[in-house]
């Protein structure tokens, strides 16, 4: 298998599992909120995100 394919697979796996959530948050923050002080650090981001994400129906039968 070629390396770019593997890299794309790895990226997909990280995106699927939410492993890259912090990177995505940083990218979004830089684009839209760069003038509003500092972004959350990794730990604080993970804490707020997890609490918020579970306020709804997540799983089916």
């Amino acid at each position: 298998m070629r390396w770019p394919t593997l890299r794309r697979l790895w990226r997909a796996l990280r995106a699927l599992s939410g492993d890259d959530a912090y990177e995505r948050y940083l990218a979004h923050w830089r684009e839209h909120h760069a003038s509003e002080g500092a972004p959350l650090d990794r730990r604080a981001f993970f804490r707020t995100e997890q609490e918020r994400k579970w306020n709804g129906i997540k799983r089916c039968c």
């Binding site: 599992s17 990794r42 129906i57 089916c60 039968c61």
Partner: protein
């Protein structure tokens, strides 16, 4: 009327024409082969070929028709994710990633258990319903609800019911979601309890998943924040170790007794666990458990598919059994309507409409992706149900019935049980069952109702043949752990959601109870929810007929009722958007669902058969009680069962009433729309052109 997307509704080239003709012939041949085969055995490859061809044709032609003509998908329209992109809830996401999330959310234990139970009718009825129900019903429901919710900023099913039908529809939908949640958790809890009953190996392995999840939770929160993949990998390794460790525990006299419980005790433990999980912070138990179960689920399902394709074992169950007359040992009731109630997830599942109108619509980057995610996601789930059907029917029918029949039907001791089952024409011997139990590392496999143990036996025989023999017991307990893991996830998450809904409802009356941060309020509402499902669960474990017999049909009826609610909303919207011509696409599955739900509810209420009709069963017990035919020590329990029968009957009646209220409301609003009065008005958001279309290169 214009067709905004270039969906090619029929093959354009002679080669394409030829190819689809070939697929159609192959599919028809496979389905015909399955339906008409009356030999000793039939190879499971036929099932795979039939399923793949039916799904391919359904996806290629029917979903294209729905996308182009019925819904008029419009990729130039900006999706909620694009318009509200907040980097949190609303995020335009690659379609394969959304597909992964959506599939992981809709595929739970339902499609594995339903087909296993329905295999008592033989392989044919369940298989046909899984294929036809999915392509014409379930996939359509998921697809159209995803579409309508996306066009309404990702609003939930309940909100859409209120917006499009009015307040009555809204209340009925909310009540429906609440009750289905309670019944679902109770019946899934019962499945886990029956799998762990007097099995130190299974119980210790399942118990170990709790500290493992907590460990992973701590890892992802404190040691390496947000490193989901690392944490999950660590957790999966520990889980595999726990499967092996459970076998070790089982062989340690003095230790194994700590994990050896009867059904009712296990039920109390599960109830205590459910309460703890609902009030503990999510990061500690709920979220890490969900990561683990999602990985295990996807991994195991893929492994099972690969193993079945490599191995393609022979199906030993006959096409139809004598139990289509309603006398089946696993659950009572005739083929019609009970096969359609028993297999809900896998053919059509109302629960999916909650996901399709929840997180998924907020992630779509283009309307074009909906066809694959909505229609295609359900196709995958249906395929999981097909694999469960194969795993159940590769077992010797005698063994299948010995595992799944409750002691109250076939007799409590092995000799009586095998005699009864062999008498039905499914030969099985006590020695054979003893040997099988020994291979699986269990004390006994008789009367392990609920579907999980028989599925685990089927899976372990497939896995051990495909990936190395000699590890039957480990594979068996791996399968049990895998099922228990995501059943417990559903149990935690469901309890929590039901608690939120309850807090939401009573928060209007007592504001303090609605606050999710006020600890006494959280404890109280959690206790209410847990005792509601806990009651049904505990009653299920002491029910002499096996609680599955009464709880699974209740679950099926409530799930199909929810699907009917979703299709009512969809049909109403089609009528109100002046597309009455295409309304049959959702109205016909709706009519079928209303027919089977009503028929099943009616039978559960008024059938004179003791194992079907709740009221008949209650009257029978009451007469016995009055006549003094009940032993004195059983009197209290009998009173309890009579009360429980009445409760089940009341719930069934509630489902029936909710369904019909919704249907009549749909007819009312649709008729007004048909005569030109669109009221309440359509709640679709106006068209805003997408800016992703020009500058976004799709990968």
């Amino acid at each position: 009327m214009t067709v905004p997307v270039n969906y090619t509704l029929r093959p354009q080239t002679p080669l394409g024409m030829l190819m689809w003709f070939g697929i159609a012939v192959l599919g028809a041949g496979a389905v015909g082969g399955i339906a008409l085969s009356r030999g000793e055995t039939i190879n499971s490859l036929w099932f795979i070929v039939a399923a793949v061809c039916v799904y391919a044709i359904g996806y290629r032609f029917y979903s294209a028709f729905i996308a182009a003509r019925v819904l008029m998908i419009d990729p130039t329209r900006a999706t909620p994710a694009e318009r509200h992109n907040d980097g949190r809830d609303f995020v335009p996401t690659n379609k394969w990633i959304v597909f992964g999330h959506h599939f992981a959310a809709i595929a739970g234990p339902g499609p594995l258990i339903g087909p296993t139970l329905a295999a008592q009718f033989g392989y044919l009825p369940g298989t046909l319903w899984i294929l036809i129900g999915a392509v014409l019903g379930g996939c359509v429901q998921d697809f159209v609800i995803l579409f309508f919710s996306t066009r309404r900023d990702g609003r939930s099913l309940g909100q859409m019911a209120r917006d499009e039908l009015g307040p009555i529809g809204g209340v009925a939908a909310l009540l429906g979601v609440m009750t289905i949640m309670i019944i679902l958790i109770a019946v899934l809890g019962l499945v886990v309890v029956n799998a762990m009953k007097h099995s130190p190996w299974a119980t210790s392995t399942v118990a170990a998943t709790i500290p493992i999840a907590i460990l992973v939770g701590l890892y992802m929160r404190n040691l390496r924040p947000g490193r989901v993949l690392e944490g999950t990998l660590l957790g999966v390794a520990l889980l595999l170790f726990a499967v092996w460790g459970g076998g070790w525990v089982d062989h340690q006299p003095g230790l194994r007794e700590w994990f050896d419980y009867a059904g009712p005790d296990l039920a109390l433990l599960v109830i205590g666990y459910g309460f703890a999980a609902a009030v503990l912070p999510v990061w500690l138990l709920l979220a890490p458990r969900d990561y683990l179960s999602t990985f295990m689920k996807l991994g195991t399902i893929i492994a099972l598919a690969v193993a079945i394709v490599i191995l393609h074992p022979d199906i030993r169950m006959p096409a139809l059994t004598r139990f289509i007359d309603g006398s089946g040992p696993i659950f009572g009731g005739k083929l019609f309507p009970f096969v359609f109630i028993t297999i809900a997830c896998g053919a059509i599942s109302g629960f999916h409409s909650l996901i399709a109108s929840g997180t998924t619509p907020k992630l779509l980057s283009s309307e074009r992706d909906m066809r694959m995610i909505g229609y295609g996601g359900m196709m995958m789930e249906s395929f999981v149900a097909m694999m469960a059907m194969i795993a159940a029917t590769v077992l010797d029918p005698g063994v299948f019935f010995a595992i799944n029949s409750p002691a109250g039907i076939v007799g409590a001791d092995p000799a009586t049980a095998v005699a009864t089952i062999s008498g039905w024409g499914f030969p099985v011997s006590a020695a054979q069952m003893q040997e099988l139990a020994r291979q699986m590392g269990e004390a006994t496999l008789f009367a392990r109702t609920g579907g999980a143990p028989s599925l685990a036996v089927g899976m372990s025989s497939i896995f051990s043949s495909a990936f190395g023999t000699g590890l039957l017991a480990v594979w068996y307990h791996f399968a049990i752990m895998f099922e228990a893991l995501f059943i417990l996830t559903t149990l935690d998450a469901g309890t929590r959601v039901a608690r939120f809904m309850l807090q939401d409802m009573i928060g209007n009356l007592v504001p303090a109870l609605g606050r999710t941060s006020w600890i006494p309020g959280v404890l109280l509402t959690s206790a209410v929810v847990v005792s509601a499902w806990g009651y049904f669960l505990y009653m299920g474990t002491i029910d002499p007929l096996g609680g599955i017999n009464s709880l699974w049909p209740l679950f099926g009826i409530s799930n199909q009722m929810l699907a009917a609610i979703a299709l009512c909303v969809a049909t109403t919207i089609l009528m109100k958007s002046r597309r009455a011509r295409y309304a049959p696409v959702t109205a016909l599955p709706l009519a079928w669902l209303v027919t089977i739900t009503s028929a099943a509810a009616w039978e559960k209420l008024f059938s004179p058969e003791l194992r079907i009709g709740f009221l008949a069963h209650a009257h029978d017990l009451a007469a016995k009680l009055a006549g003094g035919a009940i032993a004195p020590e059983k009197i209290a329990q009998t009173r309890q069962i009579i009360f429980n029968d009445h409760l089940n009957a009341a719930l069934t009646l509630l489902f029936l009433v909710i369904t019909w209220v919704l249907v009549l409301d749909t007819l009312r609003v649709s008729w007004r729309a048909f005569t030109g009065h669109v009221r309440p008005p359509l709640s679709e958001v106006p068209h805003i052109p997408s800016r992703l279309v020009e500058n976004w290169v799709r990968d």
